[in-house]
């Protein structure tokens, strides 16, 4: 069952990559990359039990942390860029309230 889980994880990661390459908007790409990162955490955790290397769980934990922080950082960047591009009074008020 562990090997089947590995194969399913690889299939899911390739599907997420297809969406990340194809995605029409930047948010589709960020969503797919977020999913890819979560599945990478799972892949490292499953590989840890398949190959019997318990050190890999630390790498999975650190990868989960980095994935979350990077997704939030990229999202903040594009959010502010789009608000500044609108340039209306409303968006500048939202900027000030944040």
């Amino acid at each position: 069952m562990l090997n089947a889980t590995l194969i399913a994880l690889l299939v899911v990661m390739s599907l997420a990559l297809v969406r990340a390459i194809k995605g029409p908007s930047i948010h589709d790409r960020i969503l797919a990359v977020n999913m890819f990162g979560t599945k990478t955490v799972l892949l490292i955790a499953v590989i840890c039990f398949t190959f019997g290397k318990p050190e890999f769980l630390d790498i999975a934990l650190v990868y989960a942390l980095i994935n979350f922080v990077s997704v939030i950082g990229v999202l903040r960047y594009f959010e502010f860029r789009n608000r500044n591009q609108n340039g209306t009074q409303n968006s500048s008020e939202e900027l000030a309230s944040d």
Partner: protein, 130 residues
């Protein structure tokens, strides 16, 4: 006896996790709109992660690996909905470009995304601005 039972239970949990994971990936690939894609990915992400790591926990037994897996589950349980929420909010703030993208794909998709997603977005933005 108990080992056999544990291995069966972990196999069942891993299978359920794989099922939900594949469902979410197919939904991410095939849904027409960004918000429905986010629904498919965001809902199944947390559930599949928890199921697969619970299956790994049953394999691990009482050890340090169990504690680390519990830490991963706890972290993903909090961060995955947070990331989905931030993604939805960021998409809502620049929703004009997003709702126009599925319209170009086909006339069958045209009425639903435009009518349902663009109207509440403008209403909520107006409420936020006041």
């Amino acid at each position: 006896m108990i080992d056999l039972l544990l291995s069966y239970a972990s196999g069942l949990l891993l299978f359920l996790g794989c099922f939900f994971m594949l469902t979410g990936a197919i939904g991410l690939l095939r849904f027409p709109d960004f918000y429905s894609r986010m629904h498919a990915a965001g809902v199944t992400d947390t559930l599949a992660t928890i199921l697969i790591i619970a299956g790994l926990m049953l394999i691990a037994g009482w050890s340090l690996a169990l504690f680390k897996l519990a830490l991963i589950v706890l972290f993903i349980f909090f961060t995955s909905p947070t990331a989905s929420h931030a993604l939805a909010r960021s998409a809502q703030l620049c929703a004009l470009r997003l709702t126009q993208t599925p319209v170009e794909k086909g006339p069958a998709d045209a009425p639903r995304p435009v009518a349902e997603t663009s109207a509440p977005v403008s209403k909520m933005e107006a409420a936020e601005g006041t």
